[in-house]
């Protein structure tokens, strides 16, 4: 079997090109494939379509690609707390496709699962339904939503083996396993790389066939957007 483990993210990103669509896991700045994002920023590829719940926040993460003017379109659910995106969106410099978060997740799931689309009650009667097919199903108005796929998916996992079997940690899981299924090429950056066979089959969150390239990235910044504690002061936006 062709080895899937790459020595670093730059090697794993071989083939990255202008105009690509990229899915990036993470919720805000939590659970991001930080090393892949930094490498994409360094490479300076342009005209990207970013498919990610937030496209970075507070000038960090994927927001660096926005600052670098590398992004043509963002497909997301929430842009609050992301001044770079709001600014470029209002100036008409960037295309933004807003999705209800559950619809966004399901579109990605459908893309990876080979489903041609689905009807959902979410967004019925709202601007989200404009220009889309609607149908009353079981007495309820529903909106047709199409699947999402991408040229590249980048995800972070807590543990990965050499086949690409992944385990995620806590709320860092979010969109990552879905996106891994919907990328033509999926790169996983893993905190811990273990020999194949180490993970118990019952404990694998994402089977390795969805992952084409693996990079061991032991250190992450783990940015906290709102550090809230019950014994200390509320230090918004602080570092861990």
């Amino acid at each position: 079997m062709k080895p899937k483990v790459y020595p670093n993210v730059d090697a794993a990103l071989d083939g990255l090109a202008d105009g690509m669509s990229i899915m990036s896991g993470g919720f805000g700045l939590s659970g991001n494939a930080e090393a892949c994002i930094e490498a994409i920023a360094r490479r300076g590829v342009k005209g990207l379509t970013i498919i990610s719940n937030n496209c970075g926040n507070q000038g960090q993460g994927l927001a660096v690609l926005l600052k670098n003017r590398q992004v043509r379109k963002v497909n997301c659910s929430f842009i609050g707390g992301n001044p770079d995106l709001a600014e470029q969106y209002l100036a008409g410099e960037i295309e933004v496709e807003l999705n209800p978060q559950g619809t966004f997740a399901e579109r990605i799931r459908a893309g990876g699962a080979g489903i041609g689309g689905f009807f959902t009650p979410t967004g019925a009667g709202t601007t989200v339904a404009e220009g889309k097919e609607t149908r009353v199903i079981d007495g309820r108005l529903q909106v047709f939503e199409k699947p999402l796929r991408a040229d590249l998916a980048i995800v972070r996992a807590a543990v990965g083996d050499h086949f690409g079997n992944l385990r995620f940690y806590r709320t860092s899981r979010n969109f990552s396993p879905l996106m891994a299924t919907a990328g033509k090429l999926t790169i996983a950056e893993v905190d811990r790389l273990v020999p194949t066979g180490t993970l118990d089959p019952d404990d694998i969150h994402l089977p390795g066939l969805f992952v084409q390239r693996i990079v061991h990235v032991p250190e992450h910044k783990n940015v906290i957007e709102f550090r809230t504690t019950r014994d200390g002061a509320k230090r918004d936006g602080g570092k861990p």
């Binding site: 559950g102 009667g125 940690y169 806590r170 979010n174 906290i224 709102f226 504690t229």
Partner: protein, 209 residues
């Protein structure tokens, strides 16, 4: 005397019943967790992929990879589970979340809710708001009675873009508790010292008492 913010949050906490799965929206609704009465045992759902959310961590317990939908650090209680976003919204859309307490910009007396955008002013995206409004089995809105401009946020028909239609059961404001009644709101409770005249004056729709 109208209710204070804490009074409103406490009143909203009384909506929560033992054994329920509850999602609390970002902002004021999040604080409802602090006032859930003793003996009422609930599982809090956070749409970024956590069921069984606990209070904010102690400083030494802070985990950057354990956050709520507002991106605040939180904890997981015994019995908690984590899952991906598709499963999280299957819980919401599939009617497995008993109660969502959400913030509001406008609620119409037919149950329509607007809480995600003010054209030209508030550009944040809807996040999970549309799924929660459309999917939770019961939606209670916790909001001020009037906007900062002094306009009533309880209206006959929405002026702002809707989040979901016909989804709201009840609205809690500083003046009282109002159930949607189709072509009117029914005032089911009022803050101490608030009379019918003040409620009628402050509400942009018919009110029955």
């Amino acid at each position: 005397m109208s209710w204070s913010r804490d009074d409103m949050v406490k009143r909203a906490a009384a909506e929560v019943a033992d054994g329920q799965i509850v999602n609390l929206g970002i902002g004021l609704p999040t604080e409802v967790a602090n006032f859930i009465p003793a003996g009422v045992d609930v599982f809090l759902h956070s749409e970024n992929g956590l069921l069984g959310m606990g209070p904010f961590p102690l400083d030494k317990e802070v985990d950057a990879q354990l956050i709520n939908a507002g991106k605040q650090t939180v904890t997981a209680l015994p019995g908690a589970s984590v899952f991906d976003s598709a499963l999280s919204f299957a819980m919401i859309r599939g009617g497995h979340v008993d109660l969502a307490i959400l913030g509001g910009l406008e609620v119409a007396c037919n149950g329509d809710l607007a809480n995600w955008t003010v054209p030209g002013k508030m550009i944040t995206g809807m996040g999970g708001a549309m799924d929660l409004a459309a999917g939770a089995r019961r939606v209670v809105v916790l909001q001020s009675h009037a906007s900062k401009d002094g306009n009533s946020k309880l209206v006959t028909a929405l002026t702002l873009p809707p989040t979901a239609l016909g989804c709201v059961a009840r609205v809690i404001t500083e003046l009282g508790v109002f159930d949607v009644g189709g072509d009117h709101f029914r005032c089911v409770e009022r803050a101490p010292g608030i009379d019918d005249a003040q409620i009628l004056r402050s509400t942009g729709a018919r009110v029955r008492f």
